[in-house]
């Protein structure tokens, strides 16, 4: 099914606060094969001037993905999750995410367009602390493979 173009500009409410935990950072760093001590050892992170463990730069996507999923799973958008692949990912960091951060994510559908047989959904999200400090902004392109021009 072709995607619903009326979704461009649709904003999703900020997610409930997510408390970034040390063990999640450690599990994530282990899963990406990254043994840098600032991701695992609190003293090593503090030596570099951080308040607690630092999250790897791509960790932000584990938070923004949940906000984007609200759009992706919205039945009115018409996306078939099995046909979805990640097309592009951009991160702009104000500072690294650290353990102890309490973060919320707001997402907006920025663009929907077709190229060939594929459809492309661009979303933008911003990760802020509950106190309102901007931490990371992202832009991601999600590809719906082979669904362009299929039905209403």
């Amino acid at each position: 099914m072709a995607l619903n173009p009326a979704f461009v500009g649709k904003e999703y409410p900020s997610s409930p606060p997510y408390l970034v935990g040390r063990e999640h950072i450690r599990d994530y760093a282990t899963a990406i094969g990254d043994h840098n001590p600032v991701f695992h050892n609190v003293d090593a992170a503090r030596e570099l001037g951080y308040p607690d463990l630092v999250a790897p730069p791509t960790f932000a996507f584990t938070l923004t993905m949940k906000a984007i999923a609200m759009a992706m799973f919205d039945p009115d958008l018409g996306l078939d999750y099995g046909r979805v692949v990640h097309g592009e990912q951009h991160f702009d960091y104000e500072r690294p995410i650290c353990a102890g951060d309490e973060l919320t994510v707001g997402a907006v559908v920025a663009d929907i367009h077709t190229a060939g047989r594929n459809e492309f959904v661009t979303t933008r999200s911003s990760v802020t602390t509950v106190a309102g400090e901007l931490v990371v902004t992202t832009r991601e392109v999600i590809v719906s493979r082979g669904t362009a021009g299929t039905g209403a």
Partner: protein, 140 residues
């Protein structure tokens, strides 16, 4: 931590070669919360026209970032990072997995201690990521 004056345009970063196996995809799914079945279920992957299970693009992107964070010495010094997922990394159900090679080069020195690094990620003969670029803030 690396200093801005220690770096020149054209410098090559130490590269890295890694292998992605099914276990790595399962670990990444669990740690990231991305449970899309195309990353762990061969039947589902083939049903949507993929040759086999594919790695999460973000796992490859996370691996590629490591050459910059290790080179700079402070992972918090990355000010931006972007990539396009140009080809899927197909991960067979065997013990070998699929090799991915990451390389990087200093592309530009900007004001304020910022340095642009262009990264390549290849598997076999194919570029699995394109337009991979990180900006790092180095010590002035």
């Amino acid at each position: 931590m690396l200093g801005y004056d220690d770096v020149s345009v054209g410098d090559n970063l130490p590269g890295l070669t890694t292998r992605l196996r099914r276990i790595d995809l399962v670990m990444y799914a669990g740690a990231s919360g991305d449970y899309n079945p195309i990353h762990w279920n061969e039947r589902m992957a083939k049903a949507v026209g993929l040759p086999d299970v594919i790695a999460h693009g973000m796992l490859t992107m996370a691996t590629a970032c490591r050459i910059v964070t290790e080179w700079v010495g402070d992972p918090g010094a990355i000010s931006s990072y972007e990539a396009r997922f140009s080809r899927p990394v197909v991960v067979p159900d065997d013990d070998e997995g699929t090799e991915v090679r990451i390389e990087g080069q200093v592309a530009e020195k900007l004001s304020g201690g910022r340095v642009v690094v262009d990264i390549t990620a290849t598997s076999g003969d194919e570029q699995v990521l394109k337009h991979v670029r990180a900006v790092a803030l180095l010590r002035l």
